[in-house]
Symmetry: C2
Subunit: 226 residues, 2 copies
């Protein structure tokens, strides 16, 4: 048991180090030596645990996607209505612990690996599918199936778009700006009378308050950053 544990601990350490390297230097300037230096080991150790750079990058990519999905799961625990669950998905995708310039830049770097790395491709597809199905599940409460599908795809693509922009622009994109942009989309795509507008507003506020506690906690941040 311990043997397997050591390996998985090392792999976790190394993918964290690699992520840090990508954040600092960008994918093209990330070398195995730098990753090793950040992790406090030699390049040899890196290649012992990941047979090649691609495998390491896949692990980094998987890790960063897992973090995102864990945020959603975490917020889901407190969301009690379709409104709240919808906002949980959105807020989780843009909460500043995860959604910040450094991480968005790293993400932009990492996705360039996807087209030429089957493992990354699988992760990416699974991730898209997961978020689409999460959204669908909630949108079905507001829209007929066909319409809900279109809106779900639209919201998913738009989330990606905001992430890309945040990674490419020199000025940081604030959580509040991103979430408000999503609110604008929702106000146009979902039935939006006075009553539902109020429900959305309440749901957003409640979830944001919870996010500040759950995702802003030191425990969660440590999991993400450390």
């Amino acid at each position: 048991m311990r043997s397997k544990s050591i390996r998985s601990i090392r792999r976790a350490e190394l993918s964290r180090a690699a992520f840090e390297a990508v954040v600092q230097f960008g994918l093209r300037r990330t070398t195995l030596d730098k990753v090793g230096a950040i992790a406090g080991v030699s390049k040899g150790v890196v290649l012992h645990h990941f047979k090649e750079k691609s495998a390491l990058l896949e692990a980094v990519f998987r890790r960063s996607n897992t973090l995102l999905s864990e945020s959603v799961v975490e917020l889901y625990r407190y969301a009690e209505t379709p409104y709240e669950r919808l906002w949980a998905i959105i807020v989780a995708n843009f909460f500043e612990t995860i959604f910040n310039r450094r991480v968005c830049q790293a993400w932009v770097s990492l996705i360039s690996e996807v087209p030429h790395n089957e493992g990354c491709q699988r992760v990416q597809i699974a991730n898209n599918e997961r978020i689409r199905s999460n959204l669908m599940h909630e949108l079905k409460h507001f829209l007929p199936e066909g319409e809900a599908e279109k809106v779900a795809r639209h919201l998913g693509v738009h989330i990606d778009g905001i992430w890309v922009r945040a990674g490419l622009l020199p000025a940081p994109v604030e959580t509040d700006v991103a979430v408000s942009e999503m609110e604008f989309v929702i106000s146009k795509m979902l039935p939006f009378d006075e009553i539902s507008a109020a429900k959305h507003k309440n749901a957003r506020q409640k979830i944001e308050k919870i996010a500040n506690i759950a995702l802003g906690s030191k425990a969660f941040k440590d999991k993400v950053m450390q």
Copy 2:
């Protein structure tokens, strides 16, 4: 005069070759040797005309963005109403000569250079700004200023989102699918009664017909691909 011309010709040849290399191998696997081989010259020539790899990549990035903006300009020439100009922007961004798996993958590769390359960053910002202002100019005919601004940003981000998805997914995204997705957004964001719906439909059809001739022509394709 000729001296300057030779230099610019070589630079154009080399950035085309580099683009081709990025399409084939991805940014991380693109080497100066490969670029040289594709251009039919030695690595030394590449480095003579671009002092370093970053400078070459900046040229590639600039080139691919120029192509896009030239498509818009080309279609603009035939667009006579705000409806048609709006659709010209959208169709130009997704016409298959430019919007295809290979090119989208290359684009996804290239943007990873942006955060760590000032030149690319400037190009990217200018590009965002250009498309935003193009959109704004037309949207002002349909919406009050403030609303138009939100919608312009939204459409711009969404275009990026579709491009990223097209670069990341293994299955190609058809022009028609992408444009229809934009149509869906427009139908939700702009005033959309029976009359305007018909006008949008006509505008889209007219512009698509023109695009097939203007952007599908051998002359234009040669400019893009050759």
